[in-house]
Amino acid sequence: MTESLIVLYGALPYLLRGSLVTIAVVAGAMMLGLVFGIHLAVGQVYGGRWLRRVIGLYVWFFRGVPLLVLLFLFYFGLCSLLQINLSAFTVSVIVLGLISSAYQSQIFRGAIMSLPQGQLKAARALGMSDRKAIALIILPQALRLSIPGWSNEYSIVLKDSAVAYALGVMEMMARAHFVASRTYEHLPLYFAAGFLFMILTYLGTKGLRILEEKVRIPGYSA
């Protein structure tokens, strides 16, 4: 028991440095997913028939294929096929980001469609182009409504990021396993990693709740 604790104590700084890698992967993926997801959602709501169909296929693909398979496909397959040299870290961010963009787009799409039609009409009536109306009127409201869904998506991407271990990214899970296989203290280390993930989930969702409260519009509910 004490031996486990000593190992754990010694490994903790190493795990915590791994949490920075985890945070970087998740932050990158969530941002990529945000930017792509917004565009996909706008395209899916306001785009023409073909655009909507193409986006539908994209969403279907990235929601239907396992993360691990996509990581292998991109890292071992596409990267060498296209002769581009990307690190395992970068590939993990891209793949997690693309998958997340598919899920995020559906969060944003739902939020956009829940807004009253009149918002767009009023913006048009003032002489705004559709682009301006979406950027200035629709998205500021839709993104606010999306925060709870986004928070949920964050907790999923965070946990999924542990799969990046399969490509050798030295995030928390990889480090926990690395120390475990040297010290033979598997259980304490896995539990430590698990609890660190829980703490990151808690901190992230808490932060997003604060954000939600901060940008809340008085009296507004949709």
Partner: protein, 255 residues
């Protein structure tokens, strides 16, 4: 009235959804400073006509002239410029829910007209003052009453310096006790010389302020004329029937 060239003229405006014709060959023209009121049963095409005028609904057919210039390409910059000159008031206000009253008025000035934020703010405050809401400028739509919301939306439209305003049943979504404050604002607009086309069920108000009433039914302009004629001496039986029913209905409620 002042000018002979109508400020707005529309001809042969037609709109249908599939089989259903919602607007049939509507033509009208309005001179500067006039107020024309569309009356008629719900679903008769009043709202469609108004929304076709600023292309919120794309008409299938029809021509529009503003100030003698025809709007030929209702697209892109030309459309946005045209819409700035045609203010619109909606039945359900459509204030931007994420912006304060002040920012609702300001956003068009800054983002559409390209005004400096400071000048736009001054202008916005001035317009809110005109509708008596200076003290409420930092409140969000959800914190305002229906009447206040509609007055903000009037300020928002006025700030763009429109040449004409379209008002689509501006009091229909209001509780009865809030109607008069909006009607007062419209009266004030009228006496300041604003050109307006308005649809309403407030027949008493229409009779009092309108230069002309336009009776629309089943997408068709049935009859047009001065209030006294339409209300009490209409040519067509359908107009008479509608007017007698609605005066009866609203006799007690409208002030």
């Amino acid at each position: 009235m002042a000018d002979t060239v109508p400020i707005l003229r529309i001809e042969h405006m037609t709109k249908s959804y599939g089989e259903k014709v919602v607007l049939k060959d509507a033509s009208l023209s309005i001179n500067k400073g006039e107020l024309k009121v569309l009356i008629g049963p719900s679903g008769g095409g009043k709202s469609t006509l108004l929304q076709c005028i600023n292309f919120l609904i794309k008409p299938d057919r029809g021509r529009i002239w503003l100030d003698g210039t025809e709007i030929i390409r209702a697209k892109g910059k030309e459309l946005y410029a045209y819409r700035q000159k045609v203010g619109m008031i909606f039945q359900d206000f459509n204030l931007f829910d994420h912006l304060t009253a002040l920012h609702n008025v300001q956003i068009g000035l800054v983002r559409v007209k390209g005004m400096q934020a400071k000048a736009a703010k001054e202008r916005a405050i001035h317009e809110l003052d005109r509708v008596g809401l200076r003290n409420h400028m930092h409140q969000y739509p959800a914190e305002l009453s229906g009447g206040q919301k509609q007055r903000v939306s009037i300020a928002r439209a006025l700030a763009m310096d429109p040449e004409i305003m379209l008002l689509d049943e501006p009091t229909s979504a209001l509780d009865p006790e809030l109607i008069s404050e909006v009607l007062d604002a419209i009266r004030a607009l009228r006496s300041s010389g604003m050109t307006m086309i308005m649809s309403t069920h407030q027949i008493g108000f229409a009779g009092e302020v309108a230069d002309e009433l336009i009776f629309l039914e089943k997408g068709l302009i049935v009859e047009t004329g001065p209030p006294a004629k339409i209300l009490y001496d209409a040519e067509y039986p359908r107009t008479r029937e509608f007017c007698s029913k609605i005066t009866e209905l609203y006799a007690n409620s409208s002030s």
